[in-house]
């Protein structure tokens, strides 16, 4: 087990370095700079600005400085929001994104697993076909289409829920964004659960349990659910990545002041440090999360080869 964890760590470190290196090179080579404003700055002021942000040093030195600061949790100053450091921006944006994404993941797991299990129990019934057709729809409708449609129906025509913003933190403001973010994941998870549940239900030990006269509820909850959920556990990693990516769009549509919005604004404004900061932050998050999921998976199922 320890060897396994160590090995996974050894893969994670170059991944992170490549991630930082790639995004650093790309954003630095992009045409246009952070000081291209409406009006041209006088050359000596621009030179001073560049020196203040260490942009006049050779690239490898800037990179070294960046990684060094990063290790101390310092993402550097933001180029656009002059009075804030990127660390402060991340600190203000991430809790919002975390709440949105966390709720969406919980909803997706809860609904996806239940729907998949029910569909598997009634395999080939009308209910099963209905659930699977809905899931196919959920996979095919991108969330940036789903979100405006939800707003159109529930906020504008029916007027049940607010169309955007966070208000003063009421839960009603999060209902539509969370649903829009969770729907594709619900679809994937229910398909996964259904497939593996059907396989598990065909296995010998479930037949034995049935033959012993155990009630269906016990069979499902006590015996079938854990093995059937293994593919779902390994999907949690990619699902997290998808939810994080999706939240970029969802935050934009619902004008929620989370990290994703900072990211898009930063990309459009060439705010180097902010964009880098968000990519690195989310990259670390995804890599660490994948690592945890792998470890949990192996702990649940020790037969997995190293």
């Amino acid at each position: 087990m320890l060897k396994f964890v160590l090995r996974r760590f050894l893969v994670a470190i170059p991944t992170l370095l490549i991630l930082i290196g790639l995004s650093f090179t790309m954003i630095r080579m992009a045409p246009g700079g952070p000081f291209d404003g409406e009006k041209q700055l006088p050359p000596d002021i621009e030179a001073n600005l560049r020196a203040a942000y260490h942009l006049d040093e050779p690239l490898y030195q800037q990179f070294g400085r960046y990684v060094f600061n990063l290790l101390q949790g310092d993402f550097g100053p933001s180029f656009q929001y002059r009075d804030f450091s990127v660390t402060e921006l991340i600190r203000s944006g991430f809790p919002v994104s975390l709440r949105l994404g966390g709720l969406a993941m919980c909803l997706a797991l809860l609904v996806g697993i239940s729907a998949g299990t029910i569909a598997a129990l009634r395999q080939n019934s009308a209910l099963d076909h209905g659930v699977m057709a809905t899931a196919m729809l959920g996979i095919s409708i991108p969330n940036f289409v789903m979100a405006p449609l939800l707003v159109l129906i529930f906020a504008i025509y029916l007027g049940w829920l607010p169309a955007g913003g966070l208000g003063s933190g009421e839960l009603s403001h999060l209902v539509l964004p969370v649903i829009a973010l969770a729907l594709p994941q619900i679809a994937y998870i229910s398909r996964l659960t259904r497939g593996s549940m059907i396989e598990v239900l065909r296995s010998n030990y479930i037949r034995t349990a049935r033959a012993q006269g155990l009630p269906t509820r016990t069979i499902i909850l006590r015996h079938a659910l854990k093995p059937a959920l293994m593919p779902v556990v390994s999907y949690i990693g990619p699902a997290t990545a998808a939810v994080i990516t999706g939240s970029v769009v969802i935050e934009q549509i619902f004008s929620i002041p989370g990290l994703g919005r900072y990211f898009v604004q930063g990309a459009l404004n060439r705010d180097y440090t902010l964009v880098m900061g968000v990519v690195v932050f989310y990259g670390v998050l995804i890599v660490v999360f994948n690592l945890l999921v792998d470890i949990v998976y192996r702990w649940l199922d020790p037969r997995v080869p190293l």
Binding site: T15, I18, L22, I27, M29, S140, F144, A147, L152, Y282
Partner: protein, 295 residues
């Protein structure tokens, strides 16, 4: 090799004929196929289907709902441009991205996977470790960085999306190659003195086609989705050119006053993605020998 049922064995069926027979019985997949063909034809002949150009401003009919009298059958946008024509032109970009970017990743993925699988040993280990590392990167963010970097050039969008989507393909192809490379026909070729690169090209890759075709059908909608995502964020194609993602974005901004601007492009995008997914599922049933239940 293929599981041909007894009575039909006399005439003999190739894998592809067999697959076609299975596919033809799958009504959802066939309907999807026809819908996709129809969409492609519509998109191809877009300029001849309406009197309006895709960037023509009809000052007399700005932001009007769909109407037959004016020949704006999907209505117009806030700049008086015909939405029907724009939706079809957007479809050109979306489908083109789907095809070109998928071809790019097909090329990279198949050659990478086949080489890793065929050469094997340490080379294989290193190549697959690289794939593992790349796999863990948050790609959507890197594509957004690429768009910032490349300045939203349409050709580079194709290549960028294609160049990051090849990982799954490489893994699948490698797995298949591993199981193929010890088969008799490969051994025969090797004994006959055929070079490794020729064996890969002439003997390994053609035998991978079944799996690859299924995977390509499922990759096209993913790629279309990535492009729409970028265009939606304003990082994709640039005005006056458009794509389904950009149209959905415009529509979402105007949906209170002009819901038709959202509904039509969204419908086209969704139906197309839906069809590709159904067709892919159908093809998997038809081409995957493991799943074939004898009819």
């Amino acid at each position: 090799m293929t599981a041909v049922t007894a009575p039909r064995a006399v005439t003999g069926h190739s894998l592809w004929q067999d697959a076609w027979l299975v596919l033809r019985r799958n009504r959802a997949a066939m309907a999807s196929l026809y819908l996709l063909l129809t969409t492609s034809v519509l998109v191809l002949f877009a300029p001849y289907l309406s009197p309006y150009g895709f960037d023509f401003t009809d000052w007399d009919h700005v932001s009007i709902p769909p109407s037959w009298q004016t020949a704006h059958i999907f209505g117009t946008d806030g700049l008086g441009r015909d939405l029907f024509v724009r939706t079809l032109y957007g479809g050109r970009i979306s489908l083109l991205v789907g095809i070109v970017a998928t071809s790019v990743s097909l090329l990279i993925g198949v050659s990478y996977g086949a080489i890793a699988g065929y050469v094997g040993g340490r080379v294989d280990q290193v190549m697959m470790r690289i794939v593992d590392i790349l796999y863990a990167l948050p790609f959507m963010f890197l594509v957004i960085l690429l768009m910032v970097f490349f300045g939203r050039n349409i050709l580079l969008i194709f290549v960028a999306i294609g160049a990051i989507n090849w990982l799954d393909m490489a893994r699948i192809v490698r797995g298949q190659t591993l199981s193929l490379k010890n088969r008799e026909f490969v051994e025969a070729a090797r004994a006959g003195g055929v070079s490794s690169s020729r064996i890969i090209r002439r003997h390994i890759v053609p035998n991978l086609l079944g799996v690859v075709v299924v995977y390509v059908t499922l990759m096209i909608p993913q790629v279309i989705l990535v492009e729409s995502f970028l265009s939606f964020l304003g990082l994709g194609v640039q005005e006056p050119m458009t794509s389904w993602g950009a149209l959905v974005n415009d529509g979402a901004a105007e949906m209170e006053n002009a819901p038709w601007m959202l509904v039509f492009p969204a419908l086209f995008l969704t139906v197309t993605l839906f069809c590709f997914n159904f067709l892919g599922d159908g093809l998997r049933d038809a081409l995957d020998p493991r799943d074939r239940s004898a009819p």
